[in-house]
Symmetry: C2
Subunit: 230 residues, 2 copies
């Protein structure tokens, strides 16, 4: 019933436009009563994104059960669950993407959903890093980076009309985030960085297992802010 | 007139609640006609955030004129323009923050505004890095990181009731992003990383001026993904 309603709604949105379609139109097309619609969907917008609640629940369950040795990898894997929801149905995903571009209310709805995924990822990272200060900050920045990277790869695929496998682009995008943030787990600090006397090179020595962000912090504490350039 | 309307609206939202206040209530309190309201604000939500349009214009103008030698620093400075809009009026900002927590429609409105700032920052970075492939990806991830860091610092200040100077927390948060992403400008690649034969240390040699993300990329290409740990 839920699926029948979602399909009827989506067909009508494509035929007549989102704003021009009423809930009465949808239930007439689906051959059910008006109250049935609201039993399954709080609003017309929800019928456009029928799988996000289930997917959010899946992401949450995954993160609750995941091996916690590498929290950044775990939230990247969680993002891939969202991707698979889109890639499981390329035609629907692409049509919905185009519809969403045209209807401001759907754009806003989508932003709210994306924010909920981001909060789920940040919550997981805070659980691993800690709730306070720089740990909470790092959790939020990494979660935002993962979401931005995922959306970049997803959008490429949607704009291409859903051709090929979006996992390739998304994996690549997520690897950029992992390269920068590493495992995100605290480990002993690297030994202090030594900058050479000359102008040509810097030399950095650190214990293996040092997370990348700590390496970066240490290099910069010696050679200056923002880049390895003095 | 615009300010009088915004003040009347906000007082009523605090007194009666956002949903319970009508546009008629607002114009009665302000002592003007109903059409005046809509001349200044497309909706009730817009009256809660009367300064974002001006601030978005200011951010855009700043980025159009900024010295482009360090694009990551430039988008961090652009984020500080938004912060100053909040910190210029602590009491209003804190009251609005509390109101926004309680009204889903205002939360959604705020997400749309935040997204527009993020797009302005990403657009600037794309203009500096390039529009395609990894450059566009990097632009989007950095913009999302800057926004997340800014919002983390801003939220700390709002939750504290607007005490003290929010610039301290936001500067600190933005420095985390700059530490990781550096200037973001392409420079020659570092010379290949050499991992020592032993298990204790890695040694990295790179030309000065190498951006931090490239250093990270190079270290990881030798010692493995996600951290400096094999």
């Amino acid at each position: 019933m839920r699926e029948v309603l979602a399909q009827a709604a989506f067909q009508l949105f494509l035929e007549r436009g989102f704003e021009q379609t009423t809930v009465d139109d949808i239930v007439a097309r689906a051959g059910v009563g008006r109250r049935s619609f609201f039993r399954y969907f709080p609003s017309k917008e929800d019928a456009v994104f029928p799988d996000h609640e289930r997917c959010l629940a899946e992401v949450t369950a995954f993160l609750a059960a995941v091996d916690d040795s590498d929290p950044v990898a775990a939230v990247c894997d969680a993002a891939r669950i969202v991707l698979r929801m889109y890639s499981a149905n390329p035609q629907f995903s692409v049509q919905r993407y185009r519809l969403t571009r045209e209807v401001p209310g759907l754009r806003t709805y989508e932003l709210s959903v994306v924010r909920r995924y981001e909060q789920a990822l940040a919550g997981h990272l805070r659980g691993r890093f800690g709730e306070a200060g720089d740990e909470a900050l790092r959790a939020e920045v990494i979660a935002a980076s993962v979401v931005a990277a995922h959306n970049n790869g997803l959008r490429l695929w949607l704009r291409s009309g859903g051709a090929g496998d979006p996992e390739v682009a998304v994996d690549h995008a997520l690897s950029l985030v992992r390269d920068v943030w590493g495992s995100g787990v605290e480990r002993p600090a690297p030994v202090p960085v030594v900058a050479s006397g000359g102008n040509e090179v810097i030399v950095m020595v650190a214990p293996k297992g040092t997370p990348m962000w700590r390496v970066v912090q240490q290099i910069e504490s010696v050679v200056g802010q923002g880049s390895a350039e003095k």
